[in-house]
């Protein structure tokens, strides 16, 4: 058997002269890519380079910047609040990844098992719906629900015998409460990804496992999860990156980082330094740190992925 490969039209003649089609293709490609590239340069690459440059300066936005070399980075080493913010952010991100992966997978399995198409569509829509609501609205909504005096959540928890804490003023509960709210808001996205991944698992494999006598757990553990591993890996990477950048709900629900800085995240700290303390240089160096951490963690995720993600 021979493989058939479509012929590729060379862009240059045998003597190296560029063919007209090659130039027109290049032009067409440039036209299509150009706008996206321009936006990337203006809104991603430009600010990124600006952040690197600014991290080497002391600048308060109102007076001229002065070059300070690596002073900002040195200052970070002895900044206890930075470590606190990093710790909170890692806790939030790890909790977010774990709860999203487990919750998203279980929800996908549950919805996939539904027999009724109408019920399936209804549940999918319901689960995804919170994700389309803006973070500002979600944050205010939950602030109302968990209001310590008038909140509906507080009321019902009291009715069934619980004595709920003051969620957003208790340092022990503020971060867990926000992790829970984040889960409610974004689980729909993870669920949709998981459901899409689940539906790519070949039915023959599951059926073969069933014929071989595998139970539900064995089918899940030995067939479904391995086949879904690229999807799970993708969800893990983007959930971690998204969680590491958490800002909106924390700022709205617990301004200034909550009780005893218990909800201070690294992006919130960056914002405080840049736009409240007017230490733009220092804030830029924190931004660079965030970039480096996310790059390292993502690289580690890819490295570990070689051991458990089935690419074929």
């Amino acid at each position: 058997m021979t493989a058939t490969v479509a012929p590729v039209r060379p862009s240059r003649d045998i003597d190296g002269t560029p063919r007209a089609g090659g130039r027109s293709q290049w032009l067409a490609g440039s036209i299509f890519v150009g706008p996206a590239l321009l936006l990337f340069v203006i809104f991603v690459l430009g600010p990124f380079i600006a952040a690197i440059v600014l991290s080497l300066f002391s600048w308060d936005m109102l007076t001229p910047a002065t070059f300070s070399g690596l002073k900002n980075f040195k200052a970070m080493l002895s900044d206890d609040l930075l470590y606190k913010a990093l710790g909170n952010t890692f806790v939030f991100a790890l909790a977010s990844v774990v709860t999203h992966l487990i919750g998203g997978l279980l929800l996908a399995l549950g919805v996939d098992a539904l027999r009724s198409r109408a019920a399936s569509y209804f549940v999918r829509t319901s689960l995804f719906f919170p994700f389309v609501i803006s973070w500002a609205a979600v944050a205010l909504l939950w602030k109302y629900v968990l209001d310590p005096t008038f909140g509906m959540g507080t009321y019902y928890l009291t009715k069934i015998g619980f004595n709920p804490p003051d969620w957003f003023t208790d340092p022990s509960w503020a971060l867990p409460a926000i992790i829970g709210i984040d889960w409610w808001h974004t689980i729909g996205f993870t669920f949709v990804i998981m459901l899409a991944g689940l539906q790519t698992v070949p039915g023959q494999l599951i059926e073969a496992a069933r014929v071989d006598g595998c139970g539900w757990w064995q089918r899940l553990w030995h067939v479904i999860i391995p086949m879904m591993s690229p999807t799970i890996f993708f969800a893990a990477v983007i959930t971690f990156i998204g969680a590491f950048q958490i800002f909106d709900p924390v700022q709205i629900i617990t301004p200034n980082g909550g009780p005893e800085n218990s909800t201070l995240t690294i992006v919130m700290y960056l914002y405080q330094k840049g736009f409240q303390a007017f230490q733009v240089g220092y804030a830029s160096s924190v931004a660079i740190l965030v970039f480096v951490i996310m790059a390292i963690v993502t690289a580690l995720q890819f490295w570990f992925a070689r051991r458990w993600v089935h690419q074929s």
């Binding site: 380079i49 007076t63 310590p148 003023t169 208790d170 301004p255 009780p259 736009f275």
Partner: protein, 441 residues
């Protein structure tokens, strides 16, 4: 295969283009900051509208726009392009303005609150106004002689780090207590004409709670101007000393203040902090006996048809009358190309006509001219006792606003929150916050 020169040039060109693109706004910003403007008062202004930035939500913007329209009518040749920034607080407003200035968008005038006055003046962004004030004595003398002496002195002391005058004071706010007379009547509690003590206040609250179920007042920590400062000042304490050089948030009097407020909270006289209590709405429903504020709650009282059921009295006292004071200042930016027009606008703002007009359309602060603030224009359709807001400027204390004001406010808020919610013992909470504040000064 060889690397072609064309490829290398291309990459360099891209990098150069990127660097140039980045440099333009930064250079504009820095040039703007260094630009002395170069105009003398006799020179003609550049063409174009006078640009002005102020803090205001939709309601306040409506009032400001009416004010600017009134100015334009009296000075048809000067057009004002005013931008209201709907920031929730002055710190956010200052951030937005700073970012705009950094981006090269420099307005001619910025309405700056106490919290940002020293910061802006210390950065060399503002045009000294002394010569213009001296040259237009027919306008400036009646104005400065007609405002509260405190307001005049504070503008100089706190807004002029080098002794020059940069700000024309606009309106101000002090803090008083708005009382729901219906709730007090139902509970059988007599309201004072003017003054009451902390003990009398708590006693009233306990009675109101037991008779009507209403809360006494909402206690919080997010807005120090109302949530924290009045309790400190009525006990002779504050967050900083008078020179804003030393933190005093952990003084014995401050600890006593926080302890008293925590007692009110523990007695159930306030909804628990950290929630979403809508004070004005609950006040109108009779679920709240008092709320604190400056002039701005009067707008809520009007909106909720509560003016006739509301009486203003001074903040309850422990050692003395006390209130924070905040005022807005109107400077001209050094980089402005329309300084003469800007000065014409500021002169108009100093007039009795402008003060009366602003008061009549529902401004959110007390007019600077005492004569206007005591007149019917200001007290009409306002709760009984409104003139106590005006009197309070005589015993008030400027809201401490050092250069690192936003960070200091965050530290104060955190300390008060920890004290009120019991996360830390009151003394520990304030001492911890005090150290943070001192480190910022």
């Amino acid at each position: 295969m060889s690397t072609t020169g064309a490829g290398e040039v291309s990459r360099r060109t891209i990098l150069k283009a990127g660097a140039a693109a980045l440099a333009v706004p930064a250079a504009g910003a820095l040039a703007g900051c260094n630009d002395s403007g170069g105009q003398q008062s006799g020179e003609k202004d550049a063409a174009g509208p006078l640009t002005l930035i102020y803090l205001g939500d939709a309601t306040q913007q409506k009032a400001f726009n009416q004010l600017f329209d009134a100015f334009h009518k009296s000075h048809p040749k000067i057009e004002i392009k005013a931008t209201g920034i709907a920031a929730g607080d002055w710190a956010t407003f200052a951030q937005t303005v700073s970012t705009q200035i950094a981006g090269g968008k420099i307005p001619d005038i910025v309405d700056v609150a106490t919290e940002g006055q020293r910061l802006m003046a210390s950065k060399g962004l503002l045009e000294p106004l002394d010569d213009r004030i001296a040259a237009d004595k027919d306008v400036t003398d009646p104005f400065f002689n007609g405002i509260a002496p405190n307001l005049k002195d504070w503008s100089k002391k706190y807004g002029s780090p080098d002794g020059k005058t940069y700000y024309i004071p606009g309106g101000y706010n002090t803090v008083v207590t708005y009382c729901n007379t219906d709730v007090f009547e139902k509970a059988g509690v007599d309201l004072p004409d003017k003054d009451w003590t902390w003990d009398e206040f708590k006693e009233a609250g306990l009675k109101i709670k037991s008779k009507t179920g209403a809360f006494l007042l909402p206690l919080g920590y997010g807005f120090p101007f109302v949530d924290i400062m009045p309790w400190l000042l009525t006990n002779g304490a504050s967050t900083l000393d008078a020179d804003w050089k030393t933190a005093t948030f952990a003084s014995a009097a401050a600890i006593e203040s926080a302890t008293y407020v925590k007692d009110l909270l523990d007695a159930g006289l306030s909804p628990k902090p950290g929630g979403t209590f809508d004070a004005a709405a609950q006040f109108a429903k009779g679920k709240l006996a008092t709320l604190g504020g400056g002039r701005w709650p009067t707008l809520d009282m009007r909106r909720l048809n509560m003016v006739d059921k509301t009486q203003i009295v001074n903040w309850p006292t422990k050692a003395q009358n006390g209130s924070p004071a905040g005022w807005d200042g109107w400077p001209i930016l050094k980089a402005s190309k329309r300084k003469n027009n800007a000065w014409t606008f500021l002169k108009w703002m100093m007039s009795k006509e402008a003060g009366e007009f602003y008061a009549s359309i529902g401004g959110t602060n007390v007019p600077a001219l005492t004569e206007v603030a005591k007149s019917d224009v200001f007290t009409k359709d306002a709760p009984k006792g409104t003139t106590l807001l005006v009197d309070a400027i005589n015993y008030a204390t400027p809201i401490p606003s050092p250069d690192q004001g936003a960070q200091m406010q965050a530290a104060v808020t955190k300390g008060w929150q920890a004290a009120l919610t019991g996360t830390q013992p009151v003394q520990t909470a304030l001492e911890t916050a005090n150290k943070s504040i001192q480190a910022l000064l």
